[in-house]
Symmetry: C2
Subunit: 928 residues, 2 copies
């Protein structure tokens, strides 16, 4: 050793002190080969991950499995915590345990740390229990100094490689350990390239790198005020401390806060022998997955580069080779790698994502972890692994996330087309799905193009504000250059199911010239076509074709049928038309939890009759209109009953306020004003007559609209209140239900109608409706000459209904939680107003942890539901309880429903498969 | 006896059977003198009333006290129940017990039932535990038949009296026992008057009455299909059965349902010797109160008529004499009556309302009951009786109903003026207070006169509908000719505190000629003055003066101070201005529970600044406006703090949505349209310029109003949401509070500010506000150089706040239930819409038992409050909990607040005295 290792001496001293003082000193450092010892300390596998971090635990794991891993060791998370708690000093004996571990590596490799003759270089990496951005990452080539470099040149005869490695150490150490920005280093390399008259780093010579290494040391001195430490142990010590300190870095804390990771876990430090894939043409480096990450097919998938370093593979400067080509280049290594992949899959029961290096013909695994994959691949791999005996059914079902099923329910950009298309820009993938449309640069344009011209539009903005919501709603998808995962654009897009890519930092949008650019060169003009992949956060130029994933693929069907066996919750669907019901059944629905009868009212040919009903001045007049609606509704219901032969169908009586069926007040006022202005230009009597007729109709409507006007229609005359005030409507709807039920029953259909009353807040409202219903049902069944069994029940969507559920269950045979309205009233929030207003600001500022209209608010709304279930079942033990709000298709909410002991969730047909899986997850959570 | 008494024989038979079979037969019949025996059976006084009914118990009571009561007996309620349960047959031995009792009367009076020589006549009256309309009332003169009549004529030498009595028996028996309508009887009398050529019944002769008696018997035969029973025992038996059966009459059941009286109580039957006040000039009959029912003064108050029957006193045909004149007419009887009155007051501990008859110089008491009295008299009597040692303080406080205190808080028609004024019409007294105004016959006229002409208006309609509400609101009072206590008019009037008299059946309102009449003769034209007494349901012609009752009268003060000693709840007041606070303190408030800071914003000189604040385009601009408001609010608060020296003052930060401070959207649109039309007629540039300026301002407002427009403002951006979005406003208000508090504290005022955040639904909202508040408070106290103690708290007015009260109490030091909003959200009802709409219909139809905005809905909102209190105190045991919604002044709601263990109720200053008494009542209920 040419230089004195103060750090090592210090360690030895403290070791002497430490071991004298406390022979049973705590173990802070674990060789990769000491996994049993770690298990003894930490208990189970999860404990080992807590102690050694994810990366360290996997390295130790691989070592035990006999996978070739470059020797190394892990400084535990406990050491990190002790260091941070102890005023940033290493705990007693830690450092000498590190030195012992270095010794052990030296022994197993035959190399010596800091010895120019047989130099040992190591990497130093952080590794917490959960993968975490924002922490110190990696310092490579620790152990190099001038003397060691000279020694290595003698050994490798490759001065260029050695000085390139050396300058990388100085640069990484400077930026990662000492916090020096990368720019001065990169600027110097640029100057050197110019000097040398080359354009690529690869063309710089050994001398260039040697010179740069010296210059980099000057930068370190200038910026950090210290000399770059030539003592390898000092390098190691400072790098270790830097990792420890980075646990409490600002970004790391912020990330943990957001991701809900505890702050007391600490990070481990992994110190590992360096191996080099750039030591000649018998060296290589690469990454590979044990299965195809796109399709899930069982085949190695990955790339490698001969005579290269890991960074080169990632940087994508050189063209990589497919992993299969390794078989030709070095069959032995390929076979070894393949068998390692299988071994790791068997060990981890999961597809692996592996980094490897081949150093002069010898294969080394540097890292393994569970591989990221598409939703499609996730499903197939889970099913295949059950068939291969790698995992059991419960694991397979538990592993696929319900949200991943969403992929199968939405169109996606066509893969074949994507292969031929370059990515234009990448941003944050904040709202999934594919969208294709013409770029529109403001909300008004987006809305006008979509509504008036029928164009498909992608709305593009630097960022969005509440004023932009109308444009976002009209658009197919949203792109922004600013904002993060909780930006207004992200929240609104997710809320309304619009695919979105936000925060594309390099995107420059020029609102004046109505164009945007990413490189200052090619410009996208307003009106040009764009295609978005919201799953991956990518934007493409042009109008790419989309395809619908195959929901009926065998793997998915198998997985969902397993989920069906596990789940306790029934999964029903909300459907207003027979077609919806048929689709819902195909997707696995076991009943209709909500048929919104008023949707049938909105159909074009029915609106005139509905309006007559509302405009009626007398009960007789109203009855006439109602009578005309009867056969139409009867046919609707009959179709639904036939589609759901053998399954229950819940029909909800009319719910929305009547003014919703009339023209909007503002429109009427505008039309009237326009008509009156036009009148002045008419010349013929017939023109004037016609206009007067139009004016009269509108004035008539306006009068009624104003009479029906309410300050807060959400809390006004709707739901059961309508039914109580206008019993004709209730009678007609009930008659339609029972006439349809009786007639299809006579045709041999197994019919199970359930009539549901909305917006009940007092049991007496329900009693009034029950009397009407029973009379009509009896009458119709006598007329039709057949009895059908039915249920009478109510929505629980008003806090008072939940609070008095015992009284209500005296009358109601079933409950269905309407959690949309229940959330509105429990929070005192009008969804229409809030989601375009303060609610989004609350979410952005973290005042609300999540949007209660997306996932049931467990502490408030969930508590109220619990009260409702308990009181209701206390009164009527076989009470059927379900949910038919949008939450019925949300996995988190489904878990709450499961915990509350609901009988079923009902959701849109498209979410039925998701709900089936989510319900199984909820049941699995009970078993854990 | 000239006629055979089958009924008596039957009784004797059954007696023989009954006593042989069961010597210990149940006692069904109690002589008035057997009160001890009744007490033995029934236990306490309440039990005796249950057994004998109220009337029977009082008659027995008086008998025991030695008050001269005509001998008689009571058939118990148990007998009634047994009769009804036993297929309408008398229970075993009951009838012979009746016969024994008749025997006993015969013995004590020396008269014999059915004996023409010494005839005994009896009355038969129903008497349930609680006074109840709709049951069979009274049959007098039972025991008369042709033979007895002849005998009585011999004894009295007054054939006219005897046949008048006889025909009354037949008529009453016919109508009351046999259900024959009164009309045929009255028609016959009319015919007879014509024949006799007289106009008054008094002028009909003995022969006329004899003839009518015979004709009445024919009517009985014709209508009932049976002969009028000449057997006195048969008369008695049928009358007794009729009383029993009337317990289950339709009206009686309906009444019990409405009044919440149990259906299994049954009614007793009182059979009592007849005495006659019309047996000559030494006979008389009258009614009197033991104290003055108007003022409460201790003096007999009543009337009597010499040689008359009870009906004559009530009918008001003859002019009665004041009870004091009895002293001259028959001093001995007067003195006896006075001492009986005192005796009865001492016994019942209450003012008595007594019916008496003087038969040939002998005084008989026929009935006594607690006397009805005015609120004023109630208070004085309660206080006097404590002073007289008749009752204790708790009884006095418990006896005065909180609603009676309301009388002292509203103007009343002047008594002196009333003495000189005839009552024009009487109807139902559905909403208390006095109102004076010009008759307006439709809502639009009422509103126009009130708003545009500044007139005081009484709205007069046949009945009201939701469309009339705007007129009712503009009117001083309401009069209708149709509708009952739960009619739309009654409900709306009570709701908005408008005095009202409804259901004046004889009032004919002619909407075409715009006039009304009660007798078809004198007409009241639209625009004529009317005066209403809503307490008594009376209408007077002309503009009567009103007076304010003296709230500070000694009796009331004394009573309320006793209430203060008893109550556990604090009574605070809602006050926005120092004047209100001073009044509240005078009325006994112990703190300010709610100061609505935005009310200060609404003042004319401040609105321009407030609007600038809202219209601000930048934070700086907004800050400028906010800065101008600061000193104004500071002065407001300083005044309040000074007024409440030593007591807590809760200041609520701004609550209503901002658009409320801007002109209404509709108005702006209209003004803009008008301005644009006007423009076309302008000629000078300066006119046009001015108009353009006005247009610009309105367009600017309109833009902002539309931006602030919300579908459901009640659930929109208001309350804490405003404070979170516009922290400048919060900061200004908090600064104003603390600057004021510090400065008055420096002046020596003992200041206790509490800052309250409205509309919180999630604890995080409160945390955001708390941070702002604490920073500003600290800053201000440092600037002012003084520390003041304060509390930070929140309203609980959203269901979620109550459901998560534990989380909220981590931050909040006090809760104040805002039960107006809590009722709106818990019921899912917009009060503005509902009270003009379906809610009134719900109340009319009994779908809701009472208006939840008047009294807290115990089962729903009350339950939620209970959850809030329990969770809140569980988290913070010394949490201060109050209520500041309108319910805080409602006695029923105050009882709920007491049960929930709230610290105080806060209400409008005018309701503070009511709340003090109601709180005492709630505490007394605990003791019971």
């Amino acid at each position: 050793m040419s230089e004195l290792s103060a750090a090592k001496i210090e360690g030895k001293k403290s070791k002497a002190f430490g071991t004298n003082g406390n022979p049973e000193a705590q173990k802070w450092v674990y060789l990769f080969s000491e996994v049993e010892s770690a298990e003894k300390t930490a208990g189970d596998w999860d404990g080992v991950r807590s102690l050694l971090g994810g990366k360290g635990a996997n390295l130790a794991d691989m070592t035990r499995l006999g996978v070739p891993v470059p020797p190394g060791f892990t400084v535990s998370t406990q050491a990190c915590n002790a260091y941070l708690a102890n005023n940033e000093e290493f705990p007693s004996t830690m450092w000498e345990q590190v030195l012992d571990a270095v010794n052990a590596i030296e022994e197993s490799t035959g190399k010596v740390f800091g010895d120019p003759d047989k130099p040992l270089l190591v990497s130093c990496r952080s590794g917490a229990k959960f993968s975490m951005p924002g922490m110190m990452d990696t310092v490579l080539n620790i152990g190099l100094n001038d003397a060691v470099a000279e020694g290595m040149i003698k050994l490798t005869h490759d001065a260029r490689f050695v000085y390139d490695s050396y300058r990388r150490l100085v640069q990484m150490f400077g930026s990662v350990v000492l916090g020096i920005p990368d720019e001065p280093f990169e600027a110097l390399i640029g100057v050197q390239r110019k000097k040398a008259g080359v354009t690529e780093d690869a063309d710089l010579s050994a001398e260039d790198w040697r010179y740069l290494t010296q210059r980099f040391k000057v930068i370190v001195h200038t910026y950090a005020g210290i000399d770059f430490p030539s003592d390898p142990y000092e390098q190691l010590k400072l790098a270790t401390e830097a990792v420890f300190k980075s646990w409490n870095g600002r970004r790391a804390i912020a990330y943990r806060n957001q991701a809900g990771i505890a702050h007391n876990l600490g990070t481990a430090v992994n110190i590992q022998t360096m191996v080099f894939g750039n030591l000649g043409d018998d060296s290589a480096t690469g990454v590979a997955m044990s299965r195809n990450a796109s399709t899930g097919e069982k085949e190695l998938e990955g790339d490698f580069l001969i005579n290269a370093q890991g960074e080169d593979v990632v940087a994508g400067i050189r063209v990589t080779q497919r992993i299969q080509e390794l078989q030709t280049w070095n069959p032995a290594v390929y076979n070894e790698f393949e068998s390692i992949a299988n071994k790791l899959e068997k060990h981890y029961h999961n597809m692996q994502d592996m980094e490897f290096t081949i150093e002069q013909g010898k294969l080394w695994l540097l890292q393994t972890r569970d591989g990221k994959r598409t939703a499609q691949a996730e499903v197939r791999i889970a099913v295949d692994m059950v068939d291969e005996g790698l995992i059991d059914i419960r694991t397979a079902v538990g592993r696929v996330q319900p949200a991943q099923i969403d992929f199968f329910m939405h169109p996606q950009l066509d893969k074949q087309a994507l292969k031929k298309t370059e990515i234009y820009a990448e941003g944050l993938n904040v709202s999934p799905g594919a969208a294709v449309g013409m770029a529109a640069f403001d909300a008004d344009t987006a809305e006008r193009w979509a509504k008036e011209l029928g164009r498909k539009v992608i709305m593009v903005r630097p960022e969005t504000k509440p004023d932009d919501v109308h444009g976002m709603l009209a658009a197919e998808g949203i792109v922004t250059s600013r904002g993060g995962r909780t930006s207004h654009a992200a929240l609104v897009a997710r809320q309304f199911g619009k695919p979105a890519v936000v925060g594309i930092m390099e995107l420059e949008i020029d609102l004046d010239s109505r164009q945007m650019t990413i490189d200052g060169d090619t410009f996208v003009k307003e009106g040009d076509w764009l295609s978005l992949d919201g799953n991956l956060g990518r934007v493409y130029l042009g109008q790419l074709p989309t395809v619908m994933p195959d929901i009926n693929n065998l793997y998915l069907s198998k997985l969902l049928s397993w989920a069906d066996d596990i789940r306790k919750l029934g999964v029903w669907a909300n459907a207003d038309y027979p077609d919806d019901a048929i689709r819902a059944r195909e997707y696995g629905a076991e009943g209709i939890g909500l048929c919104r009868t008023e949707h049938m009212f909105f159909e074009t040919e029915r609106m005139p009759i509905v309006r007559k009903m509302i405009m009626a001045k007398t009960t007789t007049e109203r009855q006439e209109a109602v009578d005309k609606l009867l056969p139409l509704q009867r046919n609707d219901f009959a179709g639904l009953f036939r589609a759901m032969d053998g399954q229950p169908v819940i029909i909800r009586l009319i719910d929305p306020p009547l003014h919703e069926f009339l023209p909007a007040r503002d429109d009427l006022i505008q039309e009237l004003a326009d008509l009156k202005v036009q009148m002045q230009h008419f010349h013929t009597l017939s023109e004037i007559d016609e206009a007067l007729g139009k004016i009269r109709i509108r004035e008539h409507y306006l009068e009624r609209v104003e009479a029906l006007h309410e300050m807060n229609p959400m809390l006004g005359t709707r739901g059961v209140r309508l039914g109580v005030l206008f019993p004709e409507i209730t009678k007609m709807q009930v008659r339609a239900v029972f006439e349809a039920a009786c007639r299809v029953a006579l045709d041999g259909v197994d019919v199970h109608p359930e009539v549901m009353i909305p917006l009940v807040s007092h049991v007496n409202e329900l009693k009034v409706q029950q009397r009407t219903l029973e009379a009509v049902a009896k009458e119709v069944m006598a007329e039709e000459g057949i009895e059908v069994k039915y249920k009478f029940g109510t929505m629980i969507e008003i806090p008072r209904a939940a609070l008095t559920a015992d009284e209500i269950a005296e009358v109601a045979e079933f409950f269905s939680f309407g959690t949309n309205d229940l959330t509105q009233t429990t929070f005192g929030v009008s969804r229409d107003d809030a989601e375009a207003g303060f609610l989004m600001e609350y979410l952005q500022r973290g005042i609300l942890p999540e949007n209660p209209f997306e996932s049931i608010d467990a502490n408030g709304v969930g508590k109220l539901m619990g009260i409702g279930v308990e009181l209701g079942r206390g009164q009527r033990h076989d009470l059927e309880v379900g949910i038919c709000g949008e939450h019925g298709g949300d996995p988190k909410s489904i878990q709450i429903c499961h915990k509350l002991g609901l009988n079923y969730v009902s959701c849109s047909p498209f979410r039925v498969p998701i709900a089936r899986l989510a319900a199984a997850h909820a049941a699995l959570a009970d078993e854990a």
